[in-house]
Symmetry: C2
Subunit: 476 residues, 2 copies
């Protein structure tokens, strides 16, 4: 309904929506609305007649019901930390912005049963803390955890640094509460590990980026808290060796590795250059560095298993050097190197980012080919690679050549991204490993997905949201 | 299309199907057809004009295309080991039976990347072996593994004994190849741990019991093979204590428990009585027995961690007695006790079986209430409980009273099942934890699911299979 989207929302509809949102649930002063309309990297800025911030699931349902009845499109939004324009309206739109931030109660923590039931607007970091308080682990962990919200994490199937052991957000969700596009509430808040009664609707809503329903609450799995952790950093001469190193240490540690992050020489150099007080971990620079984390129980000698794994890896070849952190402070400083890369890259000028995944056995060939092709397409481009090695998920980012203006570099965006995405797909990979499609990769989705897959996706969207009111122009 | 289903399939359509199935792909002699139409427990027997056994995905696609074009319903079938009537046609039907057993090639084993790509008709046990041959673990493990097929495992989201650590079949599948209801092939054979490009179609097909598409191949995850395993058996005085014991040992072992099976006193007594050569594990009978398995890496002292966990559990109370197996033979004999329960129960006469799940924190209350209610509904009924404790998945089975005929007992089936299912749902549980819905639990699904959930399921079925040709009368 492109016409309907652009025509202004009638005042009487806005009045009804305002009433449904309840006290404190309505924002329309331009300066207060602005922060909800800007995506953090500044690439997307939207327009809206009003930001609604309801405080209960019932109020969300009533808002969606009014929108369904009147054909008013709306955009659900969590912490607005996404990177693909999925949670902000279009620039010329009259879409209602439905922010879930006030829906932020933790409804129940079941320590014995290993679950937490939380509303969509809960900050991820608050849920991690609530789990910790009952001696449990909520293993979803990502850069934005202090500001992102669990509803958004689920709507986008967020990944992060512990996916290799615990899976993406999808794997942690046992149940959902969802407001459907007609304003009804689906109570799927099961706390069951196993439930084979009917179609898997939960996983359909998860990762659908607010286009099929509005997630208002979820039951998440909690795990035993690790009694000890070991963090290590190792150097490798190639991606192939980094992959071997990962496999060797996964085996040596008895499959107790929970994180495995890869950094290219330039990515690490950027971090060392821009992170205040950072010192080089090794006596010389290496082509690739791998950061690993292991979790173990009380009775283990996890450190010894890891140390002996590295001793063997150094002797057999895949490791050029290795450090096992000896203190919590050292662990933190190793992780800070990895975590500071995105910010460091920002300080090096304009960047073009990619969030691809390939099978781990194709990572070496992908990085070699992609490196060569982008360099020959734009000589001097600075490739900055980091990401989640065990998941085959690389942030294959490009920083502007040192002697080129940001604008000229930016003009090459589509051409360079095409090269990277074509290569990822040709290696059996994905153009979006963890960030989703949003508005940014909509055209790419249409380009790279088969007709069969697009047809099923469209059929599902049409069946569940026949009026197309939920997050129009996103994903499909 | 109930009318169309019952009218005979025209000879010219059968001729086209026969041609599409290719050499060796057509079975219509009544004695050869019979085994495909009988479910193993004898509760479902179907009718079909022909069994098709195509040998390639392309042939499957051509068969489905002909069925779609002519409105001919068909029933996909794997190893026919299901227990809910999901893989056999209706007794009065003229549905084509599409058996996937000849589609049984392993297409690729990627040991380094940790994946295996296999066609639907591969026996689960063969895939486990193929993984073992490259020193990897395919952790899907269930009673029927020698005869069930991976396509059926995925279509029903099979569970089994290692779900607590590795998840159900769903968690092991990275990608699928599916023949859609219009006969097109969706190639979703990704080998990616992370892929957030578009809706999660994979999980929609998994567990949909052949009603949305025919799974013809899959990419499954492989894991490092455990370097050591520890098996233990412990006794507890109540389900509540059994749950505590599980939590204590999960923590003590550093989250390395991979299986945790619960057996009631009667379930174990049946096994001991009917399993040739079996001896009682403890000096006296206990109300509940828990079988646990732990996996560890080469460097661990897993045995010591488990031993000290049990020492503490014996001292603090949840454990009444405990045995840690000291040899592979002893491990096997402990597992045989658990595995022989279904067969032992069969020897005790007629049974009414339930495959429910509840949150682990509600297991104690569920078993107590269910025990009382079925006993008061049918005095003398023998409750036989066993199942996957860590998953909250109980096979809450009933054996006929010793002084009652099987027929009289059978006449109480619906009434007793209603009690058990009502209680499971009232405790936040599911009426089908791992066996699915099929034809058996269709009415239950309609009874226990909300209108919202049923509506979405129907909308999806209508959107993907608008003519309703795939596995009619199952699930919905």
């Amino acid at each position: 309904m492109p016409e309907a989207e652009r025509s202004p929302v009638a005042p009487e509809i806005l009045l009804r929506l305002r009433e449904a949102a309840g006290t404190g649930g309505w924002v329309d002063a331009p300066d207060e609305v602005a922060p909800y309309l800007d995506e953090q990297r500044g690439r997307y800025r939207g327009a809206t007649p009003a930001v609604l911030r309801p405080g209960t699931t019932k109020a969300v349902a009533e808002i969606v019901r009014i929108c369904a009845e009147t054909g008013t499109p709306l955009v659900p939004q969590g912490g607005n930390t996404g990177l693909v324009g999925g949670a902000v309206p279009a620039p010329d739109s009259t879409e209602i912005l439905l922010n879930l931030g006030r829906l932020n109660r933790i409804r129940e923590v079941d320590a014995a049963g290993g679950t937490i039931t939380a509303e969509a607007g809960c900050l991820l970091a608050n849920l991690q803390r609530a789990a910790e308080e009952v001696d449990r682990l909520l293993p979803l962990s990502l850069g934005a955890e202090g500001t992102c919200q669990i509803g958004g994490n689920l709507a986008t199937n967020a990944g992060g640094t512990q996916v290799m052991r615990y899976g993406s957000a999808r794997s942690l969700a046992l149940g959902l509460e969802v407001v459907l596009p007609d304003g009804r509430i689906w109570n799927g808040l099961k706390r069951l590990v196993k439930d084979n009664a009917g179609y898997d609707l939960r996983d359909l809503f998860i990762g659908s980026e607010g286009t099929l329903g509005v997630i208002t609450a979820a039951v998440l799995r909690l795990f035993p808290r690790p009694r000890q952790s070991v963090t290590a950093l190792a150097a490798a001469s190639s991606v192939a060796d980094a992959v071997k190193l990962y496999a060797a240490l996964a085996a040596a540690s008895g499959d107790r590795m929970t994180g495995c992050e890869l950094m290219s020489e330039r990515a690490l150099a950027f971090a060392l250059h821009h992170l205040p007080g950072a010192t080089a971990p090794f006596s010389r620079a290496h082509p690739w560095t791998v950061l690993m984390e292991f979790h173990g129980g009380a009775g283990d000698d996890l450190g010894a298993a890891v140390e002996s794994g590295f001793a063997e890896a150094l002797e057999l070849g895949p490791a050029l050097d290795a450090i096992v952190a000896q203190s919590a402070a050292q662990e933190q400083s190793l992780w800070r190197l990895r975590e500071s890369i995105p910010d460091a890259q920002k300080r090096e000028g304009a960047s073009i980012k990619h969030d691809i995944s390939v099978p781990t056995s194709r990572m070496a060939s992908f990085t070699t080919r992609a490196d060569q092709e982008v360099e020959s397409a734009l000589p001097g481009v600075r490739v900055v690679v980091f990401g989640h090695l065990a998941d085959g998920n690389l942030h294959f980012n490009l920083s502007q050549p040192e002697d080129m203006s940001a604008d000229v570099f930016e003009a090459n965006r589509d051409r360079l991204s095409r090269i990277v995405h074509d290569l990822a797909v040709s290696e059996g990979g994905s153009i979006s490993a963890e960030h989703g499609i949003g508005r940014m990769k909509q055209a790419d989705l249409a380009r790279y997905k088969s007709a069969e897959e697009l047809d099923i996706m469209r059929a599902i969207k049409g069946a569940i949201d026949p009026r197309g009111i939920l997050n129009p122009g996103k994903v499909l």
